[in-house]
Symmetry: C2
């Protein structure tokens, strides 16, 4: 990736902000991060575009109106002026294109840098432009035209194959040849914090001939990340693997809630449906691919070497530490039940996007593409309770609240993720949901 020196400067590990909380080495929202989201607050119920910095959210519309933030003119935005920041989704902003994303990043990084006085020393404007995060409500950041979920962790696919198919041939032959994916349900993608109702559905009990109808008994998480498409492709026009990253706006944390009992009964031959469509939770902040650049690492070796259309030179994985935490209803403390890293993923986001479009399938701005469950190589790094408890056979001991095989009503499940820089973090915040009981 060729980046301008201005863009490079936004990644400078030594840059600090006059928003002091951003300089805490454990703060997800350093000045190197600058993730985009949609928020409202107690003073203004209108949904609008914000950028997280420390314990504040920058209101981009206020900065634009004050003349401190200027959008470059583009074909989608001829005048340079815009209402893309007073919008209930990021789609219009994202549609302006990568030059606009980068320009905003560069301007914000400069405005928020410790020695830039413009905003820092304008108390009245600062008050309006920087909303305390504690006073804000975060909303779904994008209107999602299409949601695709991949299945790209070798460890996860192997674990699931061992449990449900054949331990000796756990990995199906097609898995090593392509990033297996399927269409998800976009309508039920919700933002972190939205309660998730335990689904009802058909359950096939081993000792009963016919299925019974009832509440899911094996409710699970899937620890995933997702990427948001920033530039679509037209129908019939595939995107080459080497070009694919230029189509990605940024990444989120994603919890692909899964009803394992419903899934096991329904999924042959057309794949998971009701087991997944009841909810998918994403984090409210989209961390741009630009902010992740310093954390680029080599993907695992791919054997056999992929077919030509799935090849790309260089490093296309990202070093993102990931955790899953479970907090029972009345517990004060959550237990971290898994620690893993996005870098373990076998197939890269670029390969996923190239594979998705190779048939000619079109994509659109705002499309969400999930990584698939991210399981690491060790038993404490698996990305689902299914794997962590080996389908319920090995209960997890919680610090507080007993043991768990699968999720119980009232449990709060939280995903967290961050890239650890030298003295700063580029973090995703959290992605959480509390399970409410099934309908009668």
């Amino acid at each position: 990736m060729s980046v301008s020196s201005d863009l490079q400067a936004t990644l400078d590990p030594s840059r600090r902000s006059w928003v002091e909380a951003a300089n805490d080495p454990a703060c997800d929202f350093s000045i190197q991060n600058l993730p985009f989201g949609i928020f409202s607050d107690s003073h203004d119920a209108v949904w609008r575009v914000g950028v997280a910095i420390g314990d504040r959210i920058v209101d981009l519309a206020v900065l634009e109106e004050a003349g401190l933030l200027v959008l470059p003119p583009t074909s989608a935005n001829e005048s340079g002026a815009s209402s893309v920041f007073r919008s209930d989704s990021l789609n219009a902003f994202i549609a302006l294109g990568r030059d606009a994303w980068r320009s905003v990043r560069i301007q914000l990084s400069s405005l928020l840098a410790r020695d830039t006085v413009t905003l820092r020393d304008d108390a009245a404007l600062r008050e309006r432009a920087l909303v305390p995060a504690t006073d804000a409500t975060l909303h779904l950041p994008v209107q999602i035209p299409g949601y695709t979920d991949f299945y790209s962790s070798k460890e996860h696919a192997t674990n699931v194959g061992s449990m449900f198919r054949d331990p000796k041939n756990a990995l199906l032959p097609n898995w090593s040849e392509m990033p297996i994916g399927y269409n998800g349900r976009a309508s039920s993608v919700v933002v972190s914090g939205t309660p998730v109702r335990r689904p009802n559905g058909q359950l096939k009990l081993p000792d009963v001939e016919r299925p019974v109808f009832g509440a899911c008994r094996k409710l699970d998480i899937e620890l995933e990340t997702g990427f948001i498409v920033g530039r679509g492709n037209a129908l019939g026009e595939p995107v080459a693997c080497a070009e694919a990253e230029a189509h990605i706006f940024g990444m989120v944390l994603l919890n692909d809630w899964s009803a394992r009992d419903i899934q096991q009964w329904e999924y042959v031959p057309l794949g998971p449906f009701n087991a997944k469509t009841f909810a998918t939770t994403i984090s409210p902040w989209i961390v741009t691919l630009d902010a992740l650049e310093p954390f680029r690492v080599a993907q695992p070796e791919q054997v056999p070497q992929p077919l030509d259309y799935l090849r790309h030179d260089g490093a296309h994985a990202f070093d993102i530490a990931l955790e899953v935490r479970l907090r029972p209803q009345r517990a004060r403390e959550a237990t971290t039940i898994s620690r893993t890293n996005f870098r373990h993923m076998y197939w890269t986001m670029a390969q996923q996007f190239a594979h998705h479009t190779v048939s000619g399938c079109n994509t659109r701005v705002g499309d969400l593409m999930g990584s698939g469950t991210i399981s690491g190589p060790t038993a404490d790094s698996y990305g689902s309770l299914l794997e962590l408890t080996w389908n319920g056979k090995q209960p997890l001991e919680l610090k507080e609240g007993g043991t768990r095989t699968f999720i119980e009503d009232g449990d709060e499940l939280t995903l967290a993720g961050w890239c650890q820089g030298e003295g700063y973090r580029v973090g995703f915040g959290t992605c959480s949901g509390v399970i409410v009981p099934a309908r009668d």
Copy 2:
């Protein structure tokens, strides 16, 4: 379904129109039909809402502006005035709700009836309000937030199971318990007439260890219908089977183009993906459920009796004759390669919708739900080339253009469907696409 006497009158088989072409007993667009679509024409490139009648398209915006068509005030449309007819999709109109759909149907049926002089005898207005269909371009009628495809023909599921799994246990145990479905790709749903590019992808040849990349060699159709959601449901709020039809706006013809070789290699365990995502074609006219009411028939007996949440009293199938025609590139004449009927479908649309939402999954206005391939009980009534040629083993003889196992470049595939009333038809028109060669 309780219908008012005015609505009942729109179904009167003896009603005739002053648009003479509508009175041809073989015309799809009788006055009993009145399907909705989106069109533009050589005089006005703006996309807008139209209703087909005989060889004309009624421009609803013109009628509304002339005061001949009045929308009832609704919560979505407080003033009664609207711009829903000057819109590039039907979504805003559909969102007004069933009372509005029915009111428009009743008013149009009356306006177009043979003895109603208002529009008939106003030459100037008639000229503006009735566009010759030959002068019009038809567009995708709805903006589709989500596309789901079911698999509800017992004959189709049995045929596919016989070919690819086990002829002795062709039907999987879950099939008889639920309308199996999966999420499709909404972005690549195109309107009839859109050329379809043969997809490239991974093909696993029987005599080669690894897959090869190339153009699909087993390109197929799937003869389906689809229904358009007219009223969505909120997340976590399932719709009971008995209430489900009230959520359906109408039906279309749907061709679920399928790359069989790509599908066979990719589909285990998460279902079809690239084999289907390159294109799905729907017909431009949405025939309302109200217009289909006289053609309601009993669904096939369901054994075992479905679980409670999938039960509904009464008749929930529809008698819709269906055909597939294939015309090679330079042939003048098409060959009808399949004749079947929607009434054969084992699972009803109401059951599909109830099953889709039973987990709590939400739906939205404009969602498209495909029936699954509609295969009848006899070998000439199968809804795919896969079945008609038994995976290529029994080539079809065409009237003109040789034989076919699967689709060749330049072939035009056309679906047609209609309900045959006494002296009139309620038809869907056609749903067609020409295959263009794969990209190099």
